[in-house]
Amino acid sequence: MDGGLQREDPGASYFRESLRLRRRPSRVSNQLNRDSSSDEDEEEDEVDGEDQARELRNTPFSMALKKAVRQAQLMKMPVVSSSNSWKMKRSKILRQLKSSARDVVGYLTLWDKTLQKIGGNFGGGVQSYFLFLRFLVVLNFLSFLLLAAFVIIPSIIFSRVGTSFSNTSETLNLCADCAAECMEYEPNPQGLRMFYSYFLDLLSGTHFMEYTYLFYGYYSNTVLEDRNFSYNIPLAYLLTAVFYLAFCLVCIIARMGTAARVAVVTGGSTVGNYSMIVFCGWDYGCLGDRATKLKQRNVLYRLQVDLEEEALKRRAAARTLKQRVLLYSLRVAMFFVALGLIIAAFVGIFEATNFSQENRQEEGFLSLLLEYLPSIVITAGNFVVPMLCDQIALIERYTPSTTVILALLRAVFLRLMSLAILLITLWQQITCEGDTESQNCKLCLYNHVDYPCWETRLGQEMYKLTLFDFLVSVAVLVLVEFPRRMVVDNWSNKLVQWFGRQQFTVPANVLELVYGQTVVWTGALFCPLLPLISVVKFVLFFYFKKINLFNNCRPALRTFRSTTSTVFFLMVLLIGWCLAAAVVIYSIAEIHPSISCGPFRVSSNIWSIVPSSILNLSEVTQEFLFFIGSQAFAIPLCVLSCVVMCYVIVLAAAYGKSVSLLRKRLKMEGRDKQFLVKQIGELTRKLQIPNSE
């Protein structure tokens, strides 16, 4: 214990001083509390004891010193009365409960230990991908619970129970004045079928799978009315779908808020790069020889990349005018080439979708191939075009960080737009390109010849996309990754070694997830079980990707910064959400629902069930709802939101200014300190010289 007191370096005294000054306000307030009333004394002492203990824990004293100080504190505390001792015991028990609760929560959190291991071995960027995947699993699971509770389970119950209750009345509205052809819907063809066709049906959601709870077409527009209980299934279906999208939006924005706050606090990722890498680059939790070596190589690579960017910037600044003009014209040309590639992919998807829809009468494996043709073309496009864009990026010669961002933006654009093109093509076919007088669409206002139940068809397309996405990933894993690893490990050819093991590229994998989630959002209105399917898919993804990561991959040398990347992933997810929301809104508002199937077979569009339900409510509620929907409410709301937004922006700017001011002041304080130290030195010298004489 004596040794601790002797080793009193000047730095430690600085630490103690700064901590003491920081603690002072709380001490003062405790003093005031103590003086104010005497019967609260004992309680305040108790609380003060807790505070003292906490402060003691935060000090950098050695363990022995802390124990000695604690002893002194305990001796200074007044005599413990029985009520006090009970309070102390209670606080001790609470503390123990809190720490064990924290342990339990850590145990229950999904995949917590696995994520820690991934982060330790492969870094924060890869870990952020798996965290994002976990977020999507939880989101989809909650969505499935929502849909099941309000749509699927009531449908199941009412279809079983409907006719056995004597007091219920079930209204199955059939369209009285619709043509008979519009009501024809035969999902299950009669006659003998080959046995393998069941497997094909499973993959494409047709025939025996079509008329099930999986797709929109099975739900009926029952309105169950009991004595004091009524449940309107169509209304529930629509409102649940709308609420589901809104709920997902809120979750994404909440998560983005927490991630963005961290990113803003650090003040951008380019400031303080080198010092950050040197002092915070090492992960102390790294275990094992291999992980340590990888981490060291990772840090080395980050530094080298940053140094290279510096060198590039210097070279760019030193370019002559002629070189600059050449480079910029090259960049513009390459931009158009990339755009041309993407448009070519879109045209390919458009043609493939049309071809697939026109030739649906084939049988056997050819029919499966035609069914999956749009998915195949989309996946091929998503594979080939980014590779070509990478080659283009080599010509453009941007800085490495700009190149990564550009590649990502191009890939996002390609993926989401190809999905949009597929949907637009389908819509055009369903609505006969908007021409209600054409032969197929005249009777029922939609193409009832090719699409007797168009919502189910849309749901089937989304189902196929999800399934195909999953199957392709698994196939790539089994047929490409594992063999590649085996070849690289066992064949010491130079070319093979240069090719090397697969790198786990985070951005490409995240785009895959965003694409999958967008498909789920788009399809949930027409295929209510799709969130459940995607939960299973994402869970399996997690395990497959984990196995792939640990067995086949080496860590990507180009690491993604984990803080800004989370915000970027969520922003891309938000773009996907906007696309899905646009699709759903258009389907709800514009297209005439199928007359032969589904919960909305009577209405002229899906949304019209809401106004007709509102008319059943009481007068006051109706007036209130109409008022909210009217312009008299919407415009002031808009203006108010603009005002609030302006206020927040001004506040943020003010805080930013004060932060930079404070930083400048810190610098000035340091210089003042130096100046004063110099003055002190001079003064002591001046005073010493006369003394020594």
């Binding site: 010092s275 950050m276 040197v278 810190l666 210089r671």
Partner: protein
């Protein structure tokens, strides 16, 4: 390790618990014991005064591969030579656990990176840190450049070396400092 139970009195356990962030358990003492079974007694009720040398502590699997293992142990030892008593051992893992606050971790991180123990991170300290980080794979010019840039970025008072205030200010802008400066035991 066997199935011997560590012997502490209740007051001792309490005193530890108040000052620590990591949960004291017989497992922690067991880890300390198994580093030198013949030196460390199981019965701690009489507060025996035994210290384990640096060479034994850095053999722990959590520290074995860490390039800064020597500096970590030295920063937590009272004599500055790396000899840790059980108190200091437990203190070390407490500060390196995930619940310790940022200020405390920053203090000890500064001590770890301060190789010449002069309470400033000067250029030589940075060069040593960098060499340990990258296993000396950078060229000397690159090391020079990186150290210069690092000091330039973080130095606020312009004395060409980093004081604790500069270091703490830089750490406050690092979002993953808390998660990287963390050893699980």
């Amino acid at each position: 390790m066997g199935n011997k139970q560590t012997i502490f009195t209740d007051e001792q356990l309490d005193a530890y618990q108040v000052s620590l962030f990591v949960r004291l358990s017989s497992r922690l003492h067991g880890r300390y014991h198994e580093l030198a079974p013949h030196l460390v007694p199981m019965d701690y009720t009489n507060e025996p005064d035994c210290k384990l040398p640096l060479a034994l502590i850095v053999n722990m699997p959590e520290l074995k591969e860490n390039p800064f293992r020597n500096r970590i142990v030295e920063s937590f030892s009272e004599d500055g030579q790396g000899n840790l008593s059980f108190n200091e051992f437990v203190d070390m893992f407490s500060v390196l656990s995930e619940m310790a606050p940022r200020e405390l971790k920053a203090i000890y991180a500064f001590k770890i990176y301060d190789f010449n123990v002069d309470n400033y991170l000067c250029k030589e300290d940075l060069e040593k840190t960098l060499n340990k980080l990258t296993k000396e794979e950078l060229t000397p010019e690159e090391v020079e450049l990186v150290c210069e840039k690092a000091i330039e970025e973080a130095d606020l008072d312009g004395d060409n070396k980093l004081s604790f205030a500069d270091f703490e200010n830089m750490i406050s802008r690092a979002p993953d400092f808390l998660s990287t400066f963390h050893i699980r035991i």
